[in-house]
């Protein structure tokens, strides 16, 4: 999927969506759109590529259907907004696109979109219908991640050295397709889910000492982060190590980076990094680094999420992971990365990371 690479193709494709609906109307048929289903039921784990891929199931979305009409119009409107953006060659954030789509239906108090979730979904559906990724549609997500390390890139004509950007580092844009890697001296990448840990590592100059790139997001990694990680991995063969909290949600962040996500399974090949390795926190880390007294009791939802993840096809056959899941379940608790600081302010930078990387103490 997403073979479309240039603007004219994208424009054509959007127009085709509109013309298809128009033809339905002219021939007196119920206007419809065929939308691939984005749900676990239509996602498969491809053993060969080690990625989540999207199945072939689609749903028809009709205008003259009370349950569909709203989504139908939202999707067409999303296409209209994207076409407008391409025409004037500007970008909008997802939030801005929401406001662009939001309007009140005449003689009513109904808004075409009430919350950003609705416009986001319409845009994701549009990507599938038009075969054009969000980036090609000129719609961007918010910038979320930071990066530092011995890499020099060129972005919109500016040269940016990731090792010379002060305490804040470089923030990863949502669209990284145009970025060129000019010089890559690092040997590997450490990705972490928490900005606090990134700041710790940055202050301790870990990227310099271990000769690596450090990348963070706040929670689930955005598409921009995932894409730039994938590009560094593919184009410069940098191994990727992942640091998350010791809890089911943290581990799922790793799962998304490595195998792809359910809702974006259609673009796994542009985002997933099947060779990514999990660095920690593992159940063994809890034992080895004596973090037991910092464990946080599981809630009902944590148990549920853990069971769900343990049953995903891509984890089912991994002995190492099943062992981790079991250990976590037995502990009935989770722990945060920040707990490592109980061992010393720079413990994570000077002991934990060097030791784990040296011993190649990963889970695949």
């Amino acid at each position: 999927m997403f073979q479309l690479e240039n603007k004219t193709e994208t424009k054509k494709s959007l127009k085709k969506v509109g013309e298809k609906v128009l033809k339905d109307i002219e021939t007196g048929n119920n206007p419809s759109l065929e939308v691939p289903i984005r749900a676990l039921s239509n996602v498969k784990f491809d053993e060969k590529s080690k990625m989540l891929t999207m199945g072939k199931a689609t749903a028809m979305r009709y205008f003259f259907n009370v349950a569909h009409v709203r989504k139908f119009v939202q999707t067409v409107e999303a296409a209209a907004v994207a076409k407008e953006l391409l025409d004037v060659d500007k970008h909008l954030s997802l939030r801005e696109a929401f406001y662009r789509m939001k309007r009140t239906l005449p003689d009513s108090n109904i808004n075409l979109v009430d919350e950003q979730v609705e416009s986001n979904q319409a845009i994701e559906d549009l990507e599938l219908i038009s075969n054009a990724s969000r980036e090609l549609l000129h719609i961007n997500a918010n910038k979320m991640g930071s990066v530092a390390g011995k890499v020099v890139v060129e972005d919109k004509g500016d040269r940016v050295d990731w090792s010379k950007l002060g305490s804040g580092g470089w923030s990863i844009p949502s669209n990284v397709e145009e970025i060129e890697f000019k010089k890559v001296n690092a040997k590997f990448i450490i990705y972490m889910e928490k900005a606090a840990e990134w700041e710790r590592l940055h202050e301790d100059k870990v990227w310099e000492k271990l000769n690596c790139v450090i990348v963070s997001s706040q929670g689930q990694a955005t598409r921009g982060i995932r894409r730039i990680l994938q590009r560094l991995h593919i184009e410069h063969k940098l191994p990727i190590y992942v640091l998350t909290d010791f809890d089911p949600y943290g581990w799922y962040i790793y799962s998304v980076l490595k195998f792809g996500s359910i809702s974006l399974a259609h673009i796994s090949e542009r985002l997933a990094i099947p060779e990514a390795k999990f660095l920690g926190l593992t159940a063994d880390d809890i034992e080895k680094y004596d973090l037991k007294k910092h464990l946080i009791k599981f809630e009902e939802v944590d148990f549920k999420r853990l069971d769900q993840i343990a049953n995903y096809d891509w984890f089912k056959n991994s002995k190492d992971w099943q062992r981790q899941f079991k250990l976590m379940k037995n502990m009935r608790s989770k722990a945060e990365l920040a707990a490592l600081s109980s061992k010393g302010i720079t413990f994570i930078s000077e002991k934990y990371l060097p030791e784990k990387i040296k011993n190649r103490d990963f889970i695949d």
Binding site: G18, N30, A80
Partner: protein, 606 residues
């Protein structure tokens, strides 16, 4: 304690004396339904109406009643300097009294929202302003532009007149029926009737007397004579005190009864009010014509049928239904010579063999005189009666409203779109035959966004108070209304444009208290009520589902119409096709009637 005088049993004995029933009720008026002035007025009316309808039904006469409630006066007192000012409202017009002298009305000014009366008294000017606040009139006085302080609003005084075309009461019984509490024809027998205890009308007279001191007036016309009485109740003797009595021949031959009394009360027309009581009475008695002339104007509740309701039959008590107290009273008053006769003659469904078995179990001599039984023996007898197997009492003795009358009654007073009714077959609780009927009204002008209105009847008498203590309420809240397409949060009455009528008919209605406002929740009763509601709910659900379907279709169309210009606008931007053209084409599809959305139901949206 030490310096307190001790009393001997003899001294204490002197203080003991018999308390008359009338005296008891004077002190416990709440038991009779007179705990507040609003309810008092409803109760007085209820007693008058119940008696009239019972008398007409028993005599086989189509009831024609006239009820008059006249507001006599209301006083409002104000502080005027050191003296009192009084606004007395008579015949709906204010009269001003300052320092016990009537002020002179100089001028009246009427505008849309108020009436101003200008008075002069003792060289000063006063203004009385009449405004309306939520249906109630409010009077304020001011002097030279300064508003005076309100002291208190005493109650209004009302004259209540009830007139019927019933058979009347013979002269010698008039003062007994109206002047003695616990006197009446209904307490000593088991027959479905509105009144039961013989307290009602004399209780009303007692209340009238206590609040106004005025005697009651009764005119009774039987076929032969006319009795015209003015009387009070002698509270200590529980007897009528006749002030004047006049008996003449009835030359015209028209029969009927007129009861007139005055009482202090408060008059409202919403909620638990006189008007609501009469409206519900009219629903339950479509064969009655009731003309009501009240402070708010005249209303006629027309007759919806000329058919008389089925006559209820009198039955003897069933052994499973009696309690020790009733059994004791029956034993004392029976005309049977011995226990065996007593059992076979005075009860329903006790034959010779059952009677012998009861006697055997109780180990009492069958030849014992009924009135000579000691208390222990009575208890033994009572227990024996409960253990021996006896067939159920006859159930064809009741007078239900009937499904047709129920629907007619509802139609006449409730503006709704659909009416259904169910009469369950009669059955038995604790030896008493009973029957449940349910009527439902749906749609129309019934409020859509409120909890359903429940109207309850016991032997065709509306029950206005203590709804949440009532078996009908419990049962109606317990039914799963969602099945019939009606919204409900579990465990409460349903929501929406629905009115629920429940009628409980029995030879003996198990009220939770003397106020007779709630039915006790025997499991057999709850079960029957629920079954009746479910039957009715099923009948109604066809209609509701049809309506929902129609409404959904309409709603669908409206939704699409709203989204059409939006789709057209988006498509115009996307394809440069003219917006108006797209709109008109989409509207064509709607007119043609697209199968709106049933297709691909099985293909779920993501």
């Amino acid at each position: 304690m030490a310096n307190q005088k001790t009393l001997s049993a003899e001294e204490m004995g002197k203080a003991m004396r018999e308390v008359s029933v009338a005296e008891f009720f004077e002190k416990n008026r709440h038991l009779l339904g007179y705990e507040n002035p609003t309810k008092a007025l409803v109760t007085i009316l209820k007693e008058i109406v119940d008696n009239s309808l019972d008398a007409c039904d028993e005599a086989g006469i189509l009831p024609n009643m006239k009820i008059t409630i006249k507001e006599l006066e209301t006083k409002v007192m104000y502080n005027v300097g050191d003296d009192l000012g009084e606004v007395i409202i008579q015949e709906r017009k204010p009269i001003l009294k300052i320092k016990d002298r009537f002020a002179k009305l100089e001028e009246t000014k009427k505008t849309d929202d108020k009436i101003e009366y200008f008075y002069s008294a003792g060289g000063k000017n006063y203004t009385v302003t009449e405004t309306k606040v939520e249906d109630e009139k409010v009077y304020k006085i001011s002097s030279n532009g300064q508003e005076l302080k309100l002291m208190k609003v005493p109650l209004g005084r009302f004259r209540i007149i009830g007139e019927d075309n019933g058979p009347g009461i013979i002269s010698k019984n008039v003062t007994l029926a109206f002047g003695k509490l616990l006197y009446g024809s209904k307490f000593h027998r088991l027959r479905q009737s509105r009144g039961t205890q013989g307290i009602g009308i004399s209780g009303a007279i007692l209340y009238s007397q206590l609040t106004t001191g005025k005697p009651a007036k009764i005119v009774s016309k039987t076929e032969k004579e006319i009795t015209d009485v003015e009387m009070r109740i002698d509270v200590s003797k529980n007897l009528a005190q006749v002030l004047s009595q006049d008996i003449t021949k009835n030359k015209e031959g028209k029969t009927g009864l007129v009861v007139e009394m005055e009482a202090e009360a408060r008059y409202i027309e919403r909620g638990q009010s006189v008007l609501e009581f009469l409206k519900q009475t009219a629903i339950a008695n479509p064969h009655a014509k009731i003309t009501y002339d009240g402070p708010g104007g005249k209303i006629v509740f027309e007759r919806a049928t000329n058919d008389l309701p089925k006559q209820p039959k009198e039955i003897k008590p069933h052994p499973y239904g009696v309690e020790v107290g009733i059994l004791t009273r029956l034993l004392l008053t029976t005309s049977s010579k011995n226990l065996l006769h007593f059992l076979t003659n005075d009860f329903s469904k006790i034959g010779k063999s059952s009677a012998h078995e009861i006697i055997k179990v109780s180990k009492i001599d069958s030849r014992t005189k009924p009135n000579s039984l000691k208390h222990e023996d009575i208890e033994k007898l009572y227990r024996a009666m409960q253990t021996v197997k006896i067939p159920s009492p006859p159930t064809d003795v009741l007078s239900p409203m009937g499904e047709n009358f129920l629907v007619e009654g509802l139609k006449k007073e409730i503006e709704a779109d659909n009416f259904v009714a169910v009469s369950r077959p009669p059955t038995v609780y604790r030896g008493n035959p009973f029957q449940v009927e349910v009527g439902l009204a749906y749609g129309g002008k019934l409020p859509r966004d409120q909890t359903a209105q429940l109207i309850r009847f016991a032997n065709k008498v509306p029950l206005l108070y203590h709804q949440s203590d009532c078996a009908t309420f419990e049962a109606a809240s317990d039914v799963d209304w969602k099945r019939y397409g009606i919204t409900q949060s579990s465990g409460s009455l349903p929501q929406g444009p629905i009115l629920i009528l429940i009628h409980f008919a029995s030879v003996w209605v198990p009220y939770t208290s003397e106020g007779k406002q709630a039915i006790a929740d025997y499991p057999e009763i709850i079960k029957e009520i629920k079954l009746a509601i479910q039957d009715a709910g099923r009948k109604l659900s066809h209609y509701i589902h049809e309506q929902t379907h129609l409404r959904e279709g309409q709603l669908r169309k409206e939704i699409f119409e709203k989204y059409i210009p939006e789709l057209a606008e988006s498509l115009e931007k996307l394809t440069d096709e003219n917006k108006q053209k797209i709109i008109s084409e989409l509207e064509k599809i709607i007119k043609k009637g697209v199968s709106t959305g049933k297709q691909d139901r099985d293909k779920k949206e993501s």
